[in-house]
Amino acid sequence: MVQQNSYFDHFLPGKVYYRLLMVVLLTATFLYSCDPDTPAPVQEGPTAFIFPDVQHFPTQLNIPEQNPMTVEGIELGRYLFYDGRLSGSSHPDSLMSCASCHIQSKGFEVGIDHPKYKDGHPFGLPTENYPEGKPTPHYTMHLLNLVYNSNGYLWNGMIHKSNERKGPEGYEFMGDDYLSYKYLESLVWMSILAEHEIAGSIEKTINLIGSIPMYKPMFTAAFGTDEVNIDRVSKAIAQFVRTIVANRFKFYKYVRREVDLTQQELRGYQLFFSEDADCFHCHSGSLLMTTNEYYNNAKDTVFDDPRDRYAITGDLMNKGAYKAPSLINCEINGPYMHDGRFKSLDEVIDFYSHGLVYSDYVDPLMKYVKENGVQMTSEQKADLKAFLLTLTDHELLNDPKYSCPDELGTFGIRDYAY
């Protein structure tokens, strides 16, 4: 039996009853839709790639909203990264792609023992002006952990979202109607046009890639249609590069208490993170082993490089300053410094120990410049080197998901180490 005058009746006029009923129905509908047993609607289009959290790495990821990561986009990017026909030519002598200078087994740098690029100094495809190929103005940087860097790409940080400089117009690119210098994606078109790299044309590259039957379904899977353009090629390659994460090195595992360091490695660790060797101010901040900042590290007294950090900022104190690269894989990714002047890790350690030179533009963090360096003994150098070798991510160097796809056949730029 329903009571005619319940306690709440005064406050529940007819409209309220109706609204309450609606709320109950809506709630029930909502709850039903959240039932895990209810089959999810079939999703069309590319599969979103969820970037995993990497402990001790930044949580802010440099992924432009115009280029969300997808499983299909990454896979397409891997093919394009290794496809020598990115040069716009299928002639065996004219093949070039990202993988020509970014070698997986060398931590995605050139490596000191490259069979073609002597001393690790790459050069472009032959042109009329440079029949032997124009050497790159700077030595290659690695491609590790770039997704965690929001402070500019290249040695001088020119590639940054704040860069308003316009490249060639007439192309749709990252939401603009011109090619820009803002994104990791920008490095693709820049490499195609650069005289010291592919020295080609965007049209030739796009036409050739677009004519390869294998790519049509891959572009459709990644972008919805099989149209090939510079925007999509750039986006796919950038997606792949963003997945190159190096975090399986011994020191990383030590920090996670998964492995122990040897006594010598521990001594090197203490040195690295002390004022005695003072590596950490520029090469830490997280386990990326770099601050991604720019420093004049007391290499020179004369500064005439038109591509240093000063060229970007106009700040005199940035003369001769370059990005501090990550030390992950520093064991194998020489030559070192922007101009490749040091061929071995021992040379780098010697430089910081005894080779610094003063200039008015030296970074204040180079506080040992008056003594020409931190003055390590040979034992300390050996200890420091032992620690630096714990930064090698051996698993990454052989990881199949970053390797050249077999399907590219003779057009694939293979790792020369294998």
Partner: protein, 267 residues
Amino acid sequence: MKWNGIAWILMLGLLVNCKSNEEDLSFGKLLIEFQHLVNEDPASFDKLIYENGAGNPYELSNIQWFLSDVALRKKNGEYLLIEGEDWIHYVDTDLPQTHFWEIQQAIPAGSYTAIRFTFGIKGEKNSPNRFANPPESNMFWPYPMGGDEGGYHYMKLNGFWLNPEEERIPFNFHLGVGQIYDLEGNVTAFIQNWFEKELSAAIVVAPDQTSRIYFKMNIQNWFINPHVYDHNEYGGKIMNNQEAMGKIKENGMDVFSLEIWEDGSTK
């Protein structure tokens, strides 16, 4: 019926009372602007134009520092913690966006008599890996020199000084957790070098307005009182020199000051 009428009257009275209380609770906003001075003037960077208490000519390159536990003191002596216990603000002379701290928390309008803060980060909050992202993560203080409660520099103040030979030498005037070493160079204890400071001022938070406070660091005072700091004595690096860091901590007591806008602290 009679009792029903009385109930209605009581309820109406209660509602009116609640409404008048609500009207009393008005809120304003607070904006703290950080300024770096040398004595009275805005600091100039990359110019060798200053002289510290020891007579060392010096120039400034950049300064990065943390402040935390910021609280407003009410008239009744209680403190209103700003943005919660976990909040830590980062200031960087190279990053203009860090010079302004627009506090999101609604501040009850009224008069306050002081700001209390911690220079640096207290040990329990200064755990390694607290900051995942730059620029804060680049303030990292190495584990061997700081342990579990010394994850980050409190301050990096970088520059150059002229030594007696007139050579321009870099200095890293860095403050964080200090260490006690045994004769063999092993760390036997850590010393927390953060400090608390309270700056008195008549701070008025006006309803529905943003009140602005200028939070000033007089860089020169790091080198003067009570200890005259001589770069020639301590050299360019002090992160493993507790004697130097202890003096800096004590010198820090008169480094900070507040300025309130003349028009009743609002803008």
